[in-house]
Amino acid sequence: MQLKILAFAQAQDRLGFRERVVECAPGDSPRAILASLAPGFDGAGVRVAVDCEYHDWDAPVGAASELALIPPVSGG
């Protein structure tokens, strides 16, 4: 299946892209998907969201269509 990866703020800086589409399986976790996409990516302090909901780095993404990397937020 295809999964859109979104990287915001510092995560975009570290990865060098804002948006990318990858091939993955429903049983894959965000951690495994990122390890495959960007082996050197340091996700320290970064949360992950799947289809607009915060998600465990090690839980399967299921039938999701979008995965977002959420560095520490700072709105306001």
């Binding site: 915001f8 607009c52 977002a68 937020v73 709105g75 306001g76």
Partner: protein
């Protein structure tokens, strides 16, 4: 809650005209977050904001429902500016309407705290305006 308005805008924030949803409204609390010149000891011209709008909207909607259950307010208006915001201009506007000031004040404070903890909005101090 009778009304929730969540807006992200790239232009200056203009406070909407006050519309009372009922004659039981006794408190209107408004908060504006203003971009300050000094951030981390450095003088800035402004801040650059970005958001993951679909997720931010969904989270804010849920947060407002939870705060309504806790504090019982009648309406909330939330406007966050994105893009370049110069020093002295508002990046955030929140208006809460309730029967009494206590719930309205608590709703407003809690909403901002929850936003700052979880809602995917970011400010960046190092980026200059793109012209």
């Amino acid at each position: 809650m009778t009304a929730k308005e969540i807006v992200f805008t790239s232009g200056p924030i203009v406070a909407p005209a006050l519309a009372l949803p009922s004659r039981e409204i006794g408190a209107c609390v408004e908060f504006q977050g203003i971009v300050r010149e000094i951030e981390g000891g450095a003088a800035l011209a402004g801040l650059q904001y970005e958001a993951y709008i679909p997720m931010a909207t969904r989270l804010l909607d849920r947060i407002f429902d939870e705060l309504h259950a806790a504090h019982g307010c009648a309406a909330v208006t939330f406007i966050h500016r994105l893009g370049w915001v110069p020093v002295g201009q508002a990046s955030l506007f929140v208006r809460v309407l309730a029967a009494h000031r206590g719930p309205a004040l608590r709703f407003c404070a809690d909403a901002i705290d929850r936003m700052k903890a979880d809602v995917p909005i970011w400010k960046r101090a190092t980026i200059r305006p793109r012209r």
